[in-house]
Subunit: 270 residues, 2 copies
């Protein structure tokens, strides 16, 4: 079992992404299934954490998964091969200069990608070019401003803000989930529908206590510790306190809330 | 039509509560229906904003609605009479010294009440005394810490914090929603299940833009203006800016999120 996780260029991060994917698969993917033969582009597949679920739910769709990072694409291809997926073609590509002609795809799937992009509307416009009229785009993003918990903690909120600030400095937006409706509208998609997917965790849900509070969210915040200290936006002691307080919400009287947003839009006929 | 709204001791507040109730009825009440003949206590009915939906969904249950304020009870009784409800008995009573014996009720319903109480666990314990073993308690509360929006605004967040601080000074907790699970557990209820009810509003939902963003949430925050200024926790100009920014989220590219929490627990057999 362990072998499947220890390859790749950043084993700890991969473990986190795999844990996150398995906890959240049902919540995020269960209502996305593409018809047999339909041409689907997964834009920004990363190490393939979402590709497994995407391809599993649409076993007869023809999926092309691209990412700008060659090493991520290679890792994603290995993961897909190990999972026995045969309906996904992996390819290195930049969303802003896709090697596909107009109308190349019936559907586009984008998960945890816009949060990293300085110009999300431009990305959505670039994707629209390769989508056929009447085709759909599905976008899933988190929103760190949707995180709240009990016991509440100023230090924990500041630790989360470190991640938000670092992502902003890198040109991204950790709070992009709430903006999917206006972003898709601005990029000219029609019939845009957004459905929030809230993760509510209390002690009656031990799988989510472990899989989401600890291994997904707090692990992610913990992962920016060094960068936050180096950037001078966190003090070591206070950051440690924030992480401790996030883990505290995983105890028997703790509660944790986080919301993902899933949007679907149509490319209008010209 | 207007006549139904302009009586009562605080017409503007009553209008807000009635608007809020009609927008949120489906979200909060649709899964609560008590069997014919069951004895139901609505604790803290206020002016009866929730009583109409409660009694409407359980037309053959025997409902007793109490509130500590005699004028609110009188107003609730008038509202119920105008709505033609015949299965509700109204009575002035204090949750902490209820005029009912043990096992007087099969079910208890508490909506937007714990947020006002300095000792919510003690209230839940007092209610448990009049509930029969095996009976249920249903608790619904909001959580102002669950409010986030686009465009984001520091002034808007500070205006919301005025309400949170004023409620805390009055002994309440405007962020109590997230705490329902631990509160019910601490009060000795069993099989506690909490389901969040998120209100997600964008321009594709004009009814909620008007009914929730403007007439419910922002109207509520606007309503604490004078108290916040008098308490010295807000500057006039900044508060006005916050309210303007909350209304801004109701425009065509705006988004607003808020979450209510609904909990159900059982009184265990002794």
């Amino acid at each position: 079992m362990k072998k499947a996780y220890v390859h790749g260029y950043d084993p700890r991060e991969n473990i986190r992404l795999q844990d996150q994917a398995s906890t959240l698969v049902e919540l995020l993917h269960s209502d996305t299934a593409y018809p047999p033969g339909s041409r689907v582009l997964e834009a920004g597949c990363g190490v393939g954490a979402q590709t497994i679920a995407l391809a599993g739910n649409s076993p007869r769709a023809l999926i092309t998964s691209v990412d700008i990072s060659p090493s991520s694409v290679a890792e994603a291809a290995r993961t897909a091969a190990e999972a026995g997926l045969s309906n996904v073609h992996f390819q290195q590509a930049d969303i802003f200069s896709l090697p596909f002609g107009p109308d190349s795809f019936d559907h586009i799937f984008v998960c945890f990608v816009l949060e990293h992009l300085p110009k999300p509307v431009e990305a959505l416009l670039a994707l629209k070019k390769v989508l056929r009229a009447g085709g759909t785009i599905t976008v899933i993003e988190g929103d760190h401003g949707s995180a709240y918990f009990h016991p509440d903690s100023e230090a924990a909120r500041r630790a989360i803000q470190c991640q938000v600030q670092l992502q902003r400095r890198a040109g991204g937006n950790a709070n992009v989930g709430r903006e999917l409706y206006p972003l898709l509208c601005e990029a000219g998609y029609g019939s845009v529908r957004v459905s929030p997917r809230m993760v509510y965790v209390d002690a009656s849900k031990p799988g989510l206590v472990d899989g989401f509070i600890k291994k997904t969210f707090t692990a992610m915040i913990e992962g920016v510790r060094q960068s936050a200290l180096e950037a001078g936006i966190a003090e070591e002691r206070e950051f440690a306190e924030g992480i401790r307080d996030l883990y505290r919400t995983a105890e028997v009287d703790g509660v944790f809330c986080y919301t993902f947003f899933k949007a679907i839009g149509l490319k209008p006929a010209q």
